[in-house]
Amino acid sequence: MPVRTGERDRCTTGIDGLDTILYGGIPRANTVLLTGSCGTGKTSLALEFLIHGAVKGENSLFISVTENSEKLLANIIPYKFFDRTLIKSGRLVFVDLPIMYERLGMTKAELSMEEIDLLVSAIRDLAAELGTRRLVVDSITSVCYKLKTSEKIRDFILRLSKALSDLNCTSILVGEVAAQSSAYSSFGVEEAIADGLILMANMERRGDLLRTLQVIKMRGTMHSRTKYVLDLTPMGVLLVPLLKGGSTG
């Protein structure tokens, strides 16, 4: 991919199709909301983004909220490019957020503004200590359930986004939406704050269920806005354009 002068530095995702869609990758230090319903491939794509980064020598951090990271690793697609020495060497780190909550004494169902501050600081300090260049939170929606109000959610994502951006860290926040929802997020706040929005979905066409991906917005770069069909393979996420001739959506 040619580098154009005057453009922002890119964080190449390593997913060829996505880097092409983004004209070279995610602008470095952007915070991207990767959203979609269950079974659309969000976690696999986010994980692949981190693995490619770690393979390139960029320290990568996966913050797991909904799933124990050991279970996550047990179910990982047998990627041809994934080597467990990336974990042993500390290039790719997995942290379970519930353990962080526990250590920070956040036992209540709802976090206070002070606790939000504390949580953002803890994530920032961890990312700084590890020299993290790529970070994934899976899922941000689960964190938002502990924040309850739109104001707190907005505040949390803004602060987290700023803290990570200041570290020159490119981050993906995985969001969950209901299967039939036309919204981009569960709380209607997340997508407005994030620098980028990538929507993954299950699209039914004449009885066939296709996994699709569409970049809705990405600050700092031009990007394709068309819909693509994806496949999760041991060679990573592969993408082809959705054929329009039979599209119903």
Binding site: L210, D231, M235, L238, V240, P241, L242, L243, K244, G246
Partner: protein, 197 residues
């Protein structure tokens, strides 16, 4: 040399004259299928050390494997994208393995392209051949608009990867619309087998 062998060798010779990244339309009659298989897979791809990605929408990959075996053709470098076995409910279908990838339905053309892309990336071979068997079978399940778009994107992608594409069509089942869409994306046409009339 029997007429079948001559036919197969002619097909292989014509393909060998084309540069990599070429797309070729191969029209055949129904009773000429074995010649075409021998010419394309054995005398062209195998002889030139290529991996073959065989997209089947007509008969199951298991049936084609049996054909290759019967013809004594080495199939160790033939990889199948099987679009038909999954919809043959109850029939003895192909099993997904290292050399066979199943697509749920011939209507899932994007998934077909993705499986081809996956096998192209996985292949260590310098030369690659993708066979579409056949455009007529895909036309049973898809309208001409989407099929035409599919061919255009698939062939363009394969050209960029310097893979040969051979699109099989059966003369007896073809229509002017299908012939036109194949002609549009192909550089060369081969007519194999006997012509009626």
């Amino acid at each position: 040399m029997t007429p079948e062998r001559v036919g197969a060798q002619q097909i292989a010779n014509e393909l060998a004259e084309m540069p990599p990244s070429s797309a070729v339309s191969l029209q055949m009659s129904v009773d000429n299928y074995l010649d075409v298989i021998r010419g394309v897979v054995d005398l062209f791809a195998n002889k030139n050390g290529m991996d073959t990605i065989y997209v089947t929408a007509t008969i199951s990959s298991e049936a084609i494997k049996r054909v290759l075996e019967a013809l004594d053709i080495d199939s160790s470098r033939v990889y199948f994208v099987d679009c038909i076995s999954h919809i043959m409910m109850g029939a003895p279908a192909a099993q997904q393995d290292e050399r066979t990838t199943l697509v749920e339905s011939p209507t899932m053309l994007e998934n077909l392209m993705l499986k081809v892309e996956y096998l192209i990336r996985r292949s260590q071979s310098k030369g690659k051949l993708v066979v579409i068997d056949s455009i007529n079978s895909l036309a049973i399940h898809n309208n001409n608009w989407i099929l035409s778009e599919f061919l255009h994107i698939l062939v363009s992608g394969l050209r960029s990867r310097e893979a040969y594409t051979v699109i099989l069509s059966v003369e007896e089942h073809s229509t002017p619309e299908i012939n036109n869409m194949v002609t549009l994306v192909c550089d060369h046409g081969i007519r194999a087998g006997r012509q009626e009339g």
